[in-house]
C-alpha cells in the first residue's frame, strides 16, 4: 500500500504570502502529526490529530499557523503571512495508534524569500 504522501515537495514563496501544505496519511491510520525541521536541527512538534479528538496544537509557534484534518484523513497545514524564519522542511507522519511507530512522508521544503 501507499505510504504517507505530502505535497508539494518544494514550495518557494514570498514573505507575507499564505501557503498550504498537504498530507495524505496511510489509510486507516488514526493519528497524524506535523513537525518542522530546520536545517541540521531535530524535529519540532507542531500539531497532532488523534481520531475525532480535539487536536493538540501545543507546538504551533504562532497564530499564523493552523491545521485541519478533514474526514479523519487528509490534513492541511496553513501558514499565513509567511516569514523568512518559517523556512524549513515540514514533515507529516501518521500512525495506527498514538503510541505506535510513526510513518513519515517525504516532507515539504518551504523557502520564504
Amino acid at each position: 500500500g501507499a505510504g504517507v504522501s505530502q505535497s508539494p515537495s518544494n514550495k518557494v514563496t514570498e514573505k507575507g504570502k499564505d501557503v498550504e501544505l498537504r498530507c495524505d496519511p496511510i489509510s486507516g491510520h488514526t493519528a497524524l502529526y506535523w513537525y518542522r525541521q530546520s536545517l541540521g536541527q531535530g524535529l519540532e512538534f507542531l500539531i497532532y490529530f488523534q481520531g475525532n479528538s480535539a487536536p493538540d496544537k501545543s507546538g504551533l509557534p504562532s497564530d499564523r499557523f493552523s491545521a485541519e484534518r478533514t474526514g479523519g484523513s487528509v490534513s492541511t497545514l496553513t501558514i499565513q503571512r509567511t516569514q523568512q524564519e518559517d523556512s524549513a522542511v515540514y514533515l507529516c507522519a501518521s500512525s495506527a495508534d498514538r503510541d505506535n511507530e510513526q510513518f513519515f512522508g517525504p516532507g515539504t521544503r518551504l523557502t520564504v524569500l
Binding site: 504517507v4 502529526y33 513537525y35 525541521q37 536545517l39 536541527q41 531535530g42 524535529l43 512538534f45 497532532y48 488523534q50 493538540d56 522542511v89 514533515l91 507522519a93 498514538r98 503510541d99 505506535n100 511507530e101 510513526q102 510513518f103 513519515f104 512522508g105 517525504p106 516532507g107
Partner: protein
Amino acid sequence: SQQGEEDPQALSIQEGENATMNCSYKTSINNLQWYRQNSGRGLVHLILIRSNEREKHSGRLRVTLDTSKKSSSLLITASRAADTASYFCASYYNQGGKLIFGQGTELSVKP
C-alpha cells in the same frame, strides 16, 4: 522543554566498527523509538522499545533502555557505509500523547 538529548551530536567511524548513540529523556515514558533520516527528508522507523523492556534486537541493531537513568542507547554493529545518516530517538510520554524527538546524532561511516 520535554525534549530529550542525544550524544554524540556527530560520530565518524570506519566500516566494520560498531556505532553507539545515546539518548536521555525527561519524565516517565510509555515507549522510546529510534528513527533514521537520510538527506534531511522523511524519517524511517527503526525500532521501538517499551518501558517494561530492557533490551531489544533487530538485525544489526541493539537498543537498550534504562528507565532508572532515563536513558537509551542504540548500537549498530558491523557498520556499513550505507548506515551513514542521522539517527533520532523519540520518547512517547505517558502524558501528552505525542513523540518528542531528540536533536539527533549524525553518523558517518567511512568505507
